[in-house]
């Protein structure tokens, strides 16, 4: 089924006519872009691996404590009640990606996506180490399993993959369990922490499957961002493109035959990790990894021709025009990104280290009228989200009628990360009572770090029935 003519636009190279998977063996080309990408990849991997070790304010910088439903982010502690902030994180992330995509194409995919970072800069290195370059890898693929060389090389590679996936799974788990939580689990027997062990084993298995077998299929078929490209990219987005005007017609110039700069060496096809021919134009499969740029520049340098036959350029630039960076969509995405950033920052800064919720206790009278006063009983849920104990007070804040909160003068000390349910009795003097009203209660702490407002409604009889 494989053809000598190579990739075509109409079909996905890695999927055969009958739906079978075709494995690619892309060559590695070392060039300026490759060096820059590898540096970025190493920095990202180091960042990912080291972040769980960094402590901010007594907790890991990023610790998504699912077990206790608390999320520690750079010293701030968020509870489940703060999950609404996630909206701004996700939309902010989306608009950041939209804006960069409109400007620079799939720069995320080629440079920073974990799939690319680990596949290109970790697992393909292992491939090369155990099975050699792209030619010997393809040969090994075709060889029979009865040959010990294949068994040893592929087995060794699988073992290396397994160890690497196992390490990555542990680092991943550290974000949810924290290093101090993870270490005793690693040293203990698996049955002591079955849930964590299963999570680790499943993560290892998924990673192994992904990097061993699935690879570029994730980018081509599963990744939603990849499928959105056609809507996000326009003629002015900077993509990895082939300069057709300069390159065509391909081939060797000879007397009587004019030829462009492309010598049709097919090096760009050889190095492509998703199996396309970049000279066929912008394609869905392209993750803008710049391998073909390095490959072509290398060839052009050897031929003493100017580099950049394949380069970062917009479709408009490749057609002879000039890239416009200021366009309605880049302005709109950036504006929405800015709005999201501002809202996210403001709301993150306003997250209180305490929670305060009011409800009415079930099966009780809505109000009690006595000789002097009208009383309402509320149930207050006060949560100390911080890591230090704090003394809390509840006070009447905005109320049209003079309202007193009983027995709150001494305040209430709540332990770190603890929640207390407390009945609150609110009294209005009968002489002041003018019917039902809305009021606001403030929860504050003695150190002034907490100030949460809650609105509520005071229920009582019609004032006329209280007339003496």
């Amino acid at each position: 089924m494989t053809s000598n003519r190579g990739p075509i636009r109409e079909s996905v190279t890695t999927i055969g006519r009958d739906g079978e998977r075709r494995f690619l063996h892309p060559a590695i080309v070392v060039g300026a872009w490759w060096r820059a990408r590898r540096l970025v990849a190493w920095l990202l991997i180091a960042f990912f691996a080291l972040l769980p070790w960094v402590d901010v304010g007594g907790f890991p910088a990023v610790f998504l404590d699912v077990e206790h439903r608390r999320f520690h982010l750079l010293g701030a502690t968020l509870g489940l009640g703060d999950v609404w902030l996630l909206f701004f994180v996700i939309t902010g992330w989306c608009f950041l990606i939209y804006a960069t995509t409109a400007l620079l194409g799939r720069i995320w995919c080629g440079w920073t996506c974990p799939q690319t970072v680990y596949l290109e800069h970790v697992f393909r290195v292992v491939d090369r180490l155990f099975e050699g370059d792209h030619v010997s890898r393809a040969k090994l693929d075709a060889a029979a399993w009865s040959r010990p060389a294949k068994f040893l090389r592929r087995g060794g590679r699988a073992l290396a993959y397994l160890i690497l996936c196992w390490v990555v799974a542990h680092i991943f788990l550290a974000y949810f369990i924290s290093i101090p939580g993870l270490y005793p689990m690693i040293t203990a027997a698996p049955q002591a922490h079955p849930a964590a062990f299963v999570a680790m084993a499943v993560a290892t298995g998924l990673l192994f499957f992904n990097f061993w077998w699935f690879r570029e299929q994730l980018c081509l078929i599963l990744c939603p961002y990849g499928r959105l490209q056609s809507a996000l990219i326009d003629d002015d987005s900077v993509i990895v493109g082939y300069d057709e005007k300069r390159g065509e017609p391909r081939g060797k110039a000879a007397p009587g035959i004019t030829a462009g700069d492309c010598v049709d060496c097919r090096r760009c096809v050889q190095v492509c990790p998703t199996g396309i021919d970049i000279r066929q134009g912008l394609q869905m499969e392209c993750v803008a990894c710049t391998s073909c740029v390095d490959a072509c520049d290398d060839v052009m340098t050897k031929l003493k021709r100017p580099t950049g036959l394949v380069r970062y350029a917009s479709l408009r630039e490749l057609a002879g025009g000039r890239t416009r960076f200021l366009r309605p969509r880049t302005i709109l995405y950036s504006a929405l990104l800015t709005v999201g950033l501002i809202v996210a920052t403001v709301s993150l800064l306003r997250v209180q280290p305490a929670g305060f919720k009011l409800s009415r206790p079930p099966q009780t009278e809505l109000y009690v009228v006595s000789a002097d006063s009208v009383a309402n009983v509320f149930r207050a849920k006060i949560q100390n989200k911080d890591d230090v104990p704090r003394r809390f007070f509840v006070e009447a804040e905005a109320s049209p009628t003079k309202l007193s909160v009983l027995n709150q003068s001494a305040g209430l000390v709540i332990a770190p990360q603890a929640e207390v349910t407390l009945p609150l009795t609110l009294l209005v003097d009968r002489r002041d009572y003018r019917g039902e009203f809305n009021f606001t209660l403030r929860l504050r702490s003695d150190d002034g770090k907490v100030s949460v407002l809650q609105k509520a409604h005071f229920i009582g009889p019609a004032p006329s029935t209280l007339a003496r």
Binding site: S3, R5, I8, R17, Q217, E365, S370, L406, T421
Partner: protein, 194 residues
């Protein structure tokens, strides 16, 4: 067009001039479809026909019933003598005092002197809703209904039997066994004073 092994087959039909390639789905993609069909059969058999997996509602009911049974057993073991014995045990009384200070004080006052119009005085020997330790326990556990209507004293079951018993013991620690006096509660809210 030249016939080529790699050129995809074009379907014979055309709608509005639009033609369609006859491309295969990736096999792994088809596998996810078949796997989910297989999973559905297993799921259906497990939850509805094997008798192993039970309904969420059944599981919830069973768990609630077990919880209630535990609570009932704990309450059944309680009797007047036990409550009075607990009321003379310093650590139980201290536990009860902590519960009082976090909950009861808001209506009955920090010194148990009561709050006019809200909660009865608890530090004298006059008792409106029953003058035994068990009556006090029941009032906290189940709440007080007066004249057919719920009162401000709601059920505090959420505390759990142990802590309700402890706070009862705390209240009893100010009383002498057999010397709690019963008095009538009147209907008038204005007389609902400590």
């Amino acid at each position: 067009m030249k016939k080529d092994a790699d050129q995809p087959v074009i379907m014979p039909h055309a709608y509005d001039g639009i033609q369609e390639y006859d491309q295969s789905l990736p096999n792994w993609w088809l596998c996810t479809l078949f796997a989910s069909i297989a999973f559905a059969f297993g799921y259906w058999a497990y939850w509805f026909h094997s008798g192993v997996g039970s309904d969420d509602r059944v599981a919830l009911d069973a768990e609630l019933a077990a919880l209630e049974a535990r609570q009932l057993a704990a309450v059944k073991d309680l009797d007047e003598a036990t409550l009075w014995k607990m009321s003379r045990n310093p650590s139980t009384v201290a536990e009860g005092q902590a519960v009082y200070a976090s909950l009861c004080f808001s209506c009955h006052g920090p010194t148990m002197a009561g709050i006019k119009g809200v909660g009865f005085r608890l530090n004298d020997d006059l008792w409106v809703h029953g003058n035994t330790g068990m009556a006090v326990f029941r009032n906290i556990n189940e709440g007080v209904v007066f004249d057919g209507k719920p009162t401000g004293m709601a059920s505090q079951k959420a505390l759990g039997t142990g802590r309700i018993a402890a706070v009862t013991a705390y209240l009893l620690s100010f009383q002498k066994e057999g010397q709690m006096k019963a008095i009538e509660r009147t209907k008038e809210p204005s007389q609902l004073t400590p």
